[in-house]
């Protein structure tokens, strides 16, 4: 799965299907610290994802 990150980085991640939370756990990110969207729409942590989904992970910047 192609995963985009805020800031512009893209990573290829081995992930067939599962929830947003599964994906985040798989790549070692705490869901409390990010917001995830698919094809431009923000999605809840229990949304089911498939390998071809376009996923963007936005890390929440602290402060302010």
């Amino acid at each position: 799965m192609q995963v985009r990150f805020s800031g512009g980085k893209t990573e290829e991640v081995t992930f067939r299907e599962g929830t947003v939370e599964d994906l985040l756990n798989h790549i070692g990110i705490n869901p409390v610290e990010v917001i995830v969207s698919r094809s431009g729409a923000i999605i809840p942590d229990d949304t089911w994802l498939y390998e071809n989904d376009e996923v963007l992970i936005t890390r929440i910047v602290h402060g302010g």
């Binding site: 869901p31 610290e33 923000i42 999605i43 942590d45 989904d53 910047v61 302010g64």
Partner: protein
Amino acid sequence: MSHGHSPRCSECDTTAVFLDREHARHLCAAHFSEYIEDQVLATITEQELVPPGSRMAVALSGGKDSSVLLFLLNRLRDRLGITDLVAVTVDEGIAGYRDETMEAAGSLCQGLRIPSICISFNERFGETLDQMLVGREHRACSYCGTFRKRLLEEGARRAGASLMATGHCLDDEVQAAAMNVLRADIGRITRELPDKGRGPFIPRIKPLSGLMGREVALYAMLSGLYTELPECPYTPHALRAEVRGILNHLERDRPGAMRLMMQNYGSFRECMRRKAPSLPLGRCLQCGAPASGESCRVCTLLREGSAGSEVRESQPLHR
């Protein structure tokens, strides 16, 4: 083509944007925003934080939390009986970071037609934060926090405000509480909060203190207030960054943990106050600001700065 399982809003059955783990429900964008506004109203009214007819200063850094704060207070101002809102922005002088957030603060005020006051470390103390911190980067947060607080107070006075709101969310509050306990900082633990006009400071309130940082960020995104901004370059030096990581893990494994810790901290404070009542505030001999000893924090740090880098670190928990 794969939109197999898209959770629906528990209130209206449209597409959800948020899983509220604490209350085991889903919310769509509209119901999520309503929930956030209700939470903020509840925080303010339950604690009777805003007397009707208030002229309120809002500490606005330009980051997501303070932007959401200003946006929400503006939206709720009639319901809260706020007569005037004034934004107060402090430019600490942090290269490669503050310019962008200052710009965001300015354009938000313009968009909402809210007057603003800006004060910089440089104009007030003769040095930017970057200049103050050469050789003592690990103390960035205590320098920055102390001086910023003073300038916010001065800005609020200049604005003629009767009240000042800051954008601290639940995460910030729990992190501060945990650090106070880790350092056994009895003075901070037992200090009376300046939220009801007791003491010499302009009363300060934290309308977002019932919301998780993640909820504030999501509200910012849904309201078009979230811009990709750089992070403060001093963040990695801070003990707070580690405390934040630990608390976020707890929250992930036990939804609601932060809220519970904050409630418990409240009981702990009460108990500590009875054991160690806080010292009455006097006046700083140098600048006349409220101080618990002969010298306020601002004057103490300014003196350390001019004494050079031989001044030793006193907090035990820094690396």
